[in-house]
Symmetry: C2
Subunit: 211 residues, 2 copies
Amino acid sequence: MQYSSLMSGLRERKKQRTRRALADAAIRLFAERGYEETTIAEIAAEAEVSTRTFFGYFASKEDVIFHDSAGRMEELLAMVADRRPGETLADLLVRVLRHGLESTADGDSFSLTEAKARMDVIMSVPALQARGLRLLFDSQMRLAGALCDAFAGELDLVEAAAAVGSLVGAVKLATMASLTRGDTGEQVREAMTVATELALRGLGASGKISA
Amino acid sequence: MQYSSLMSGLRERKKQRTRRALADAAIRLFAERGYEETTIAEIAAEAEVSTRTFFGYFASKEDVIFHDSAGRMEELLAMVADRRPGETLADLLVRVLRHGLESTADGDSFSLTEAKARMDVIMSVPALQARGLRLLFDSQMRLAGALCDAFAGELDLVEAAAAVGSLVGAVKLATMASLTRGDTGEQVREAMTVATELALRGLGASGKISA
DNA sequence: ATGCAATTTTACAACGGATGAAAAATGTAA
DNA sequence: TTACATTTTTCATCCGTTGTAAAATTGCAT
């Protein structure tokens, strides 16, 4: 007899616990010793499982850091799917982007410090940075597809993609520039709004340096 | 006695030849058998050098595909550095972006087909896609820095980053959306101009679906 | 409780990418 | 030719990743 996927038996609980133990150990060790300096064998040992078992839970070393970033996307796509009637493309996009950014920052204090540790590791390891950019890219493409559906008939896929790329691209680069400069959290948030407004207003209408 | 880096002796010529042989063999084998299915040992054998020698020329397997993409950036940064007096930020950015896109497409017919083969490989291998996105991201950050210098006093780093991110992001996503859809070369170019205009005009002023 | 079936974990072997170090080969200058 | 600088090769090793089959664990029916 086969078991349903929504089992709440001992088996499932242990799996969840092992998964957590692996993720926690990984993030902690990455923060302590650095990403490249931490081997999967060490992570597995910390979680008290065999090295091979690690790959039963995560497809790769990189995946440990991004394992929960996939779930949040569904929510954003759902927001797009049932847009408020009459809502502008720009308004909907900004609303979705804001929600996406906020949902990263909420949660209890523990997950906040953990989120920061994760971000630090990602930023400092080129391979992880690349992986993060690819995930963001994929999300943007899916968002464009969802917008195309939501505004069926009114919006071309290319237009939707351009809109998403423009807004997200502006915010992404401005945020990184702000972080690189060593800005405080408040200044980074300010950079995001500046970028959002610039994308909405358009590059050609840039206040100071326009024609 | 030590040798200058601009030596035209036998040694230098052989090095250039070996480098080319490795890159050519790699791209050819990637196109024939696929990226993951090709080992560095096979590439090295094709170029008639040892496996270890490969790493004397390229830092990694991924690098073989991106080895020439670094040089073109200097040119774009130079364009920014000596902008035409009085030129608008938007105008300069568009000019730089166009030049960057065109310089990818020019060259003799051989390098054109090779460029297409490279692009196909990159698009079909997630790891290479990620690497490409990271390189593009780094380029954008450098471009933002250069713009900040070029418009010293008039343009904040965050504003510059937002501008670059908005324009490049729009074109990038629109291009990919168009390619994904299976568009022809002409349609892809059309998508690029649509995206450029959208970024210049601003999302909020989107013709059809604005408030 | 006991045995059976499904599932998970483990140990083991192997492959490919990447790096370090020393030996061998090659180009260069005198 | 000889001595030196540089490049290539060989060899050993580490780590991430995957396949496989044995062993352990769990859920369930009797």
